[in-house]
Amino acid sequence: MKAFYTLLAISTLMIAVACKKVINVDLNNAASEIVIEGIVTNTSTAQVRISNSVNFSNSNIFPTVSGAMVTISDNLNNNYILQETQPGIYTNNNLMGLPGHTYQLNVNTNGHIYTASSTMPYQVFMDTILTDNISFGNKYIKIVEPLYSDPANVANYYWFIETIRQTVNKKIFVWDDNLTNGGISNRPLIEPDSTINTGDTIQVEMRCIDKNIYNYVRGLEDLQNNGTTPANPNTNISGGALGYFSAQTRQIRKVKMP
């Protein structure tokens, strides 16, 4: 949080004098890597996407990986096989997650085996979404504040997805309960380049995630902030894949910006 504010302060100072331009950087090519994004939620059926990385100079078309053996098991020894319903997308309509349960992912593609485990936390619900108009830098921006009561005596990790006029805001909002453990939180989703106007419908999805995924998403957030020593976020998948496997709760609320 402090780091965020410091970066913000720096960037605001810089903007005063800085100039930006698109340049050509001669980047090395790297061998293509497997990317696994596995999600078990309590509101929709489980889904695993498998794709490949590409070189920087390529278009943003990421080859899908077909023909993998994908299974998810839970701690009650239920075993679910996921079928490839679209190229690179594996699903099972019988698998809806339950809070408190631990899920184990197993992926076998061309003889390579990748495994991961994630526990779905007990759900914390948003009571409402507050709105505010704050002064920020040299302007006022409209923001939303999800309001929820954080349970005491347990470590909670929250990830919020903001959708403004049906477009997902790319900015990552992720935090733990260190500042508010056992209290009410209305920590705002501050987007310095906010495009929210009066009358807009803002959708907020709240995801309760486990600690490994918190670390992973924070790693993504660090990349977004262009830190000085970028690194691949720490994945919870073993076997050498990029991506993550998360069992998470989800809840969606909407608010109309006054």
Partner: protein
């Protein structure tokens, strides 16, 4: 290293040194001692030379407090006292018994042909054993072009070999492959923990208040310790004790005022020096109320006073207070700054033993205030030092001087404290304080072994003890807590003793050049955790503990020095090799702020740095200046980074070149220019991309495997002084500057992102900062 061995070694070297003079010095010698001062201002003069004409080869230099002692057999002699920029002082003396002689030197009139006045000790850098020392003449750097016209010692030193800039317009620096935190920056002996303002663009040192500036990048004498790569020793002016003096300047972004004068003529003086920026004044002019309420400024205040208590004692009290303030309306506000205070007592134990006792306080803290919705809270953090220090200078013979002493520092580090309103949703909490005691004894001997060989050798014995109260943690290899140690108040949880040998030797060659060699071990017990390229206000100092071991560096250096054309030109070539142990890096995604388990986020590895530095300076004439070039490599190695292979450190730069020229056009106009070129920093760029959460994410394969584009820049300045009139007290000058005169767009950062115009593509975007920045400033003195 045990305390016992450490003490024994020191004791033996000590006894040897104490006995040594009784063997060598004849009984019928007398000692002349005293202080050397500037005749106009009464400032104590550092490094003035005292020679006896009748005894060639006899030369001593004044210490940091202007004190000297020289011995002669009984007889009549001619004493010659000189210092760069001053008229030589000659006095006939008769030494029947010990003599106390205080000397005042007059500043020399500067002629057009001789811009930097030559003096008798101009060959000092060839003859003395100390190597790797850079001294800066404050008057000289005042003429160099700088960003926004703000003269700055920490920026000017970056033009010297082996000292690298931390980035465009930045006052941060790296010395011989060390990190920014491996420089010990002392202001009147007090460590300054964050030596920059406005996120690095200005240093905390107002050059109006500075008397002397030395930087040791190798061959550090044993009285200094605590950091791996360099010591920057800055001494504040004492203040004019003859007459009142007011000077100042008005610049583009800041103004300065300096007032000094006698408290009691010849016995005491004071100096007050202040500086404040006023970029925020322009914000006030904005019609927008939000912009009006933004804040952005810094200020510095330097104060010093001294008083002579009789012939043998003098007291000095100096202080520094500086602060940065930054705020966005009422949503966010932060301020940070250093406070230092030094009380010193100089005492003459005898005419050959000089003692200085110092009590030193240093504090760096920051406060962040955040108001969001109904939450109103404040985060504070600080590092605070109480330090007691005792030093003795013993002038045994003219060729042998020892320094010995010790110091003890109590460090308190408060990583973070959150204070929230009762109505706030954020809860008040505190990350526990860390306490430690850092102590050291040292002895250092400077001896002229023969006419050709000069030797400085010494030993420093240092300790750090991490103490309670507090919980200290033990971690497994993955950073998970496996045990908690509840340490009671004052109890030690880890204690590290280290011996730091320091030796430099010089040998004068027949062509009047010299060869020098040195070996140094340095130990560092305070480590700065920082995720940014340069230091930021919220960086955390972390003392050594049960998990964090002291950083250790061993450096060997060898060099060749030569002055030519009657000391008009100065040349040096130095090469060094440095090995560093227990260097610190971070796990991926490490959370370094307000984290009680921050030590679990650290990785430990090794470092090595080597290079060769060339320096040629023309010291006199209408056109003078220097060229410095460094060829170097700096690498780090960590088991879990880059498969355990050495990788270039961020500050690794193959080539680093500076050219500085000063030209005196006529009596009123002087021109200056600097050109710098260096290889871009080592950086981590992506080698691929993939998709997660429907967004493009970049893939990284190796640490610091790429280079930023090469950096180069030309700066120009012109200074015009008002007509000289020796009867008039009032003097003024205008300085015009142009930073980055040919508008090179140097890369400050390169970011990778989706192309906003074509979401199927990604692109690299370079941000550059300063291009054609003009400046104007007006300076006055009366």
């Amino acid at each position: 290293m045990h305390l016992y061995t450490c003490r024994t070694i020191l004791l033996f070297s000590f006894l040897y040194l104490l006995l040594y003079p009784s063997i060598t010095s004849a009984q019928n010698k007398t000692t002349i001692s005293g202080i050397v001062k500037d005749k106009v201002t009464g400032e104590l003069m550092i490094g003035a030379s005292i020679k006896i004409e009748e005894l060639p080869g006899t030369v001593v230099f004044t210490n940091a407090y202007g004190f000297y002692a020289i011995s002669t057999p009984k007889g009549k002699y001619t004493l010659l006292i000189s210092s760069i920029g001053y008229t030589n002082f000659i006095k006939s003396i008769s030494t029947e018994k010990n003599l106390q002689l205080n000397i005042e030197l007059s500043p020399a009139a500067i002629t057009l042909e001789e811009v930097i006045v030559a003096s008798r000790n101009k060959n000092e850098h060839v003859e003395k054993a100390l190597m790797g020392v850079e001294k800066i003449n404050i008057n000289e750097i005042n003429k160099l072009p700088v960003l926004f016209g703000e003269k700055d010692v920490l920026k000017s030193i970056q033009l010297l070999p082996g000292i690298q800039s931390a980035g465009d317009g930045n006052s941060g620096f790296f010395v011989r492959g060390g990190g920014a935190d491996q420089n010990l920056i002392l202001l009147d002996e007090a460590p300054v923990y964050n030596a920059s303002h406005l996120l690095g663009f200005f240093s905390t040192f107002n050059s109006d208040a500075i008397k002397d500036f030395s930087l040791y990048k190798g061959g550090m004498p044993a009285q200094y310790g605590g950091r791996l790569s360099s010591v920057v020793d800055i001494k504040m002016k004492d203040g004019n004790n003859k007459d009142y003096d007011v000077n100042g300047g008005i610049g583009l972004i800041s103004s300065r005022l300096n007032i000094e004068g006698p408290l009691d003529k010849d016995n005491g003086s004071f100096i007050i020096s202040g500086r404040r920026t006023y970029a925020d004044m322009f914000l006030k002019l904005s019609p927008d109320t939000t912009i009006k309420s933004n804040k952005l400024y810094f200020y510095d205040l330097n104060l010093k006073t001294n008083y002579r208590l009789g012939k043998k004692d003098r007291l000095f009290l100096s202080g520094y207070f500086g602060r940065d303030v930054l705020g966005f309306g009422d949503t966010f506000g932060t301020d940070w700054g250093n406070t230092t205070a030094t009380l010193r007592w100089n005492h003459l134990v005898s005419n050959r033993i000089f003692s200085n006792t110092s009590l030193i306080y240093s504090n760096y803290n920051y406060i962040i205030k955040i108001k969001s919705g109904s939450s109103n809270f404040k985060i504070t953090s600080k590092i605070e030092d109480f330090n007691i220090k005792q030093d003795f200078d013993y002038f045994i013979t003219n060729n042998n001087k020892i320094k010995f002493g010790g110091d003890m520092i109590e460090h308190t580090v408060s990583p973070g404290h959150i204070e929230a309103d009762a109505s706030s949703n954020v809860k008040s909490s505190t990350v526990q304080n860390r306490y430690s005691i850092e102590s050291a004894f040292y002895v250092s001997d400077e001896v002229g072994v023969s006419k050709k060989i000069d030797l400085v050798y010494g030993l420093r014995c240092s300790n750090l003890s991490a103490i309670g109260p507090g919980n200290y943690y033990q971690y497994d290899n993955n950073g998970n807590t496996i045990d908690t140690l509840h340490v009671a108040s004052g109890k030690s949880v880890a204690s590290y003793w280290n011996l730091e040998p320091r030796i430099s030797i010089s040998y004068i060659l027949t062509n009047n050049g010299s060869i020098k060699a040195s070996y140094n071990r340095n130990v560092q017990n305070l480590h700065l955790l920082s995720n940014a390229v340069t230091t930021t206000p919220t960086d955390l100092w972390l003392p050594s503990s049960n998990n964090v071991k002291p950083e250790i560096a061993d450096q060997v250096a060898i060099g060749y020095y030569k002055n030519s054309h009657n000391n008009k030109y100065e040349l040096s070539v130095e090469t060094y090799y440095k090995l560093m142990q227990h260097q610190i890096d971070y796990r991926n995604g490490a959370d370094l702020t307000a984290n009680d388990n921050v030590e679990s986020e650290l990785l430990y590895g090794k470092g090595r740095a080597y290079g060769i530095e060339f320096y040629v300076k023309k010291k006199v004439g209408k056109l003078n200046g220097w060229i410095s070039y460094t060829l170097s490599r700096t690498e780090r190695r960590f088991d879990s980074i880059n498969h355990g292979n050495y990788f270039p450190a961020r500050q690794d730069r193959t080539h680093d070149l500076s050219i500085v020229a000063l030209y005196k056009l006529n009596k009123r106009w002087s021109l200056s220019g600097t050109w710098v070129y260096y290889t871009g920093n080592a950086v981590t760029f992506p080698s691929g991309k993939y998709q997660v959460n429907g967004q493009t994410v970049f893939m990284y394969t190796e640490r610091n495997g790429y280079r930023m584009p090469a950096y180069h820049r030309l700066d120009l300045a012109a200074t015009v002084e008002n007509k000289h009139n020796s009867l008039r007290r009032y003097q003024s000058s205008w300085t015009f500057g142009l930073y980055n005169a040919y508008g090179r767009e140097n890369a400050y950062s390169i970011a990778f992102q989706d192309d906003p115009n074509d979401p199927t593509k990604t692109q690299a975007v370079q941000t550059s900062l300063f291009k054609f920045i003009p400046s104007i400033s007006w300076n006055f003195k009366f």
